[in-house]
């Protein structure tokens, strides 16, 4: 009862619907950004998180060793310690941010690839509709 043309159309529609229901939900918010924007946003979030974690760890270290730190306060070379701390911080942030950047770069590319396939399917579906003269007429009437 169903001719080949219609079968193709139904297959495309099903594929599109399944995509929108499963992968689409995940990919749509990702692929809406430009690549640089998306990864930039993620890197910004990663820097904030890394800073918070670093501050927490340093805070905990200071609290734990407060007695020795207070006792040796005047003997410590503060400038040297600060320089060391900043180096640790930069190292930690760079490592974490590079991991985040790689992970979300891959994720973005995957999302865009899926979206491209989705768009191609949509175009194919449209071309199927385009072949039908009846619908063209209907369209003109409307």
């Amino acid at each position: 009862m169903i001719n080949d043309e219609r079968k193709k159309k139904i297959r495309l529609m099903t594929r599109i619907a399944i995509y929108e229901k499963t992968e689409g939900k995940k990919n749509e918010p990702v692929a809406r950004y430009f690549r640089s924007d998306y990864i930039g946003l993620k890197i910004l979030g990663a820097i904030i998180s890394a800073t918070l974690v670093f501050l927490t760890v340093i805070g905990l270290y200071v609290v734990c060793n407060s007695e020795t730190l207070l006792a040796d306060f005047y003997r410590i070379d503060l400038l040297e310690e600060a320089r060391k701390l900043i180096l640790y911080y930069i190292g930690f942030v760079v490592v974490y941010v590079s991991i985040v950047a790689v992970v979300f770069f891959v994720k973005y590319n995957k999302a865009v690839k899926y979206k491209r396939i989705f768009s191609r399917n949509l175009k194919k579906l449209l071309s199927h509709y385009g072949k039908k003269e009846d619908f063209e007429e209907e369209d003109d009437d409307d």
Binding site: M1, R32, V53, C64, N65, V100, L122, E138
Partner: protein, 437 residues
């Protein structure tokens, strides 16, 4: 196996049918297991370690997203840690904060692994988790499984530390905090297990995604060996207290559980693998299609263990059919004899049953074809009529003043094509939006 597959099919059908009720029930059971386990093993705050509270929280979680169970479980453990003393709560909060800020951004959907891992540790089957998450999850699951392992060991360490502090009578906050932090950072067993579990997830995930036959089984075995080797090496290097017998037995048990998961999720027949190649405008496709074994296509699966018995059953059935065949023509001949002056027809030929079936199919096909053609002609006729009617309406509308009567849309085809035109417009809009984005 066939019976099991039929049961599986029935279970899937039932689950699909009552999905709306079963998902909240499953969440409720999961939440109850988590909260009751926390209350029994870590329930230091007596006010909230009660069953009615766990029940209320479980009911609340049954209508919430899965991550709600994780959040409530984290808050519960924090409250219990606070009941021990403030430094326990601080350390636990820091551990949770680090996990939340640094790791959960990679796989927010896998938070489920974080609560499932400690529960499997308590059930003495921890090796199930990395292997099953490697099989059904993604590479990001490694982070979640490692986090779950760390949570379990931190809580375990805290229970031990509480006893130690009580025995030593230590009261100073800073000393306790320092001891706790140092203990957790230098907890070798935790570090070895977390690393091994993450490695198992990655190895299993990478192998099961390969395009090789029996990928899942190979992944399972490799994952098990990786786990045993990593933990043994860790044990030798850092002198942890992991029991080797427990490790091996646990891994074997995990393989059994994972095999069950494989049966439920990935039951395929590699002997009937098809390899095909084709192309379209953009790509060449090298496709390897492995058929799933379901209760529906089980008849075709000759490699199943009970195939021989099924074949013999089939043969018997065929013989019976063949015996039954000649009887029918005999009956028809009798009828013919009863009819007055019936022309003597040649005795009905014996046909093999498959041939008869073929003929039936041909007849059915020609019938359907005729029906199809008739329907097409009818549709064409109606379409013509609708067009004529519409033209007439337009003409009358042009001739007369705007008519007030409402023309009901009788023809379903017309409505259908209008709907399709509407759909097409919608699609076009969506496409242009996509292109813009």
């Amino acid at each position: 196996m066939t019976k099991l597959r039929e049961i599986r099919l029935q279970v899937v059908t039932i689950i699909n049918k009552f999905e709306a009720y079963l998902i909240p029930t499953g969440k409720f059971i999961m939440a109850m297991i988590v909260f009751c386990t926390i209350n029994s093993k870590f329930g230091f705050m007596k006010n909230i370690a009660k069953f009615p509270i766990a029940l209320i929280l479980g009911l609340f979680c049954s209508f919430m997203p899965m991550s709600m169970i994780v959040i409530i479980a984290a808050l519960l453990t924090l409250a219990h840690a606070y009941a021990i003393s403030i430094e326990f709560a601080i350390v636990l909060a820091v551990v949770y904060l680090i996990m939340f800020l640094l790791f959960f951004r990679f796989s927010p959907k896998d938070t489920f692994a974080v609560i499932l891992t400690p529960i499997c540790f308590l059930l003495k089957i921890p090796y199930v988790i990395p292997m099953s998450f490697g099989l059904v999850g993604s590479a990001g699951s490694a982070v979640s499984v490692a986090c779950g392992t760390i949570v379990f060991y931190v809580l375990k360490y805290m229970v031990g530390a509480k006893k130690a502090f009580e025995e030593s009578g230590e009261e100073d906050l800073l000393t306790k905090l320092r001891a706790l932090l140092e203990g957790i950072i230098k907890y070798k067993e935790m570090l070895v297990c977390a690393a091994a579990f993450a490695l198992i997830v990655l190895v299993v995930y990478m192998i099961r995604r390969m395009s090789i036959n029996y990928a899942w089984t190979i992944a399972m075995v490799t994952g098990a060996l990786t786990g045993i080797l990593t933990i043994l090496v860790g044990d030798i290097m850092y002198k942890t207290d992991i029991s080797v017998v427990g490790l091996i037995l646990g891994t074997i048990l995990a393989c059994g559980v994972v095999k069950v998961i494989q049966f439920l999720v990935f039951d395929v027949d590699y002997s009937r693998t098809e390899k095909v190649q084709f192309e379209d405008d953009d790509y060449y496709y090298y496709v390897k299609a492995v058929p799933k074994i379901t209760a529906g296509n089980i008849k075709d699966n000759k490699d199943a263990s009970d195939a021989s018995s099924r074949i013999s059953l089939k043969k018997k059935a065929a013989e019976k059919e063949a015996e039954a065949q000649p009887k029918k023509p005999a009956a028809s001949v009798q009828k013919e004899k009863n009819a007055p002056e019936a022309p003597k027809q040649e005795a009905p030929r014996r046909r093999p049953s498959s041939r008869v079936q073929e003929m039936d199919i041909d007849k059915e096909f020609s019938k359907e074809r005729a029906a199809y053609e008739a329907r097409q002609a009818e549709i064409q006729r109606r379409r013509e009529a609708a067009r004529r009617r519409e033209e007439r309406l337009r003409q009358t509308a042009e001739e007369q003043a705007p008519a007030t009567e409402v023309v009901q849309e009788e023809d379903s085809d017309l409505g259908m094509s209008r709907r399709m035109a509407y759909q097409r417009r919608k699609l076009e809009e969506r496409l242009t939006r996509n292109d813009k984005e």
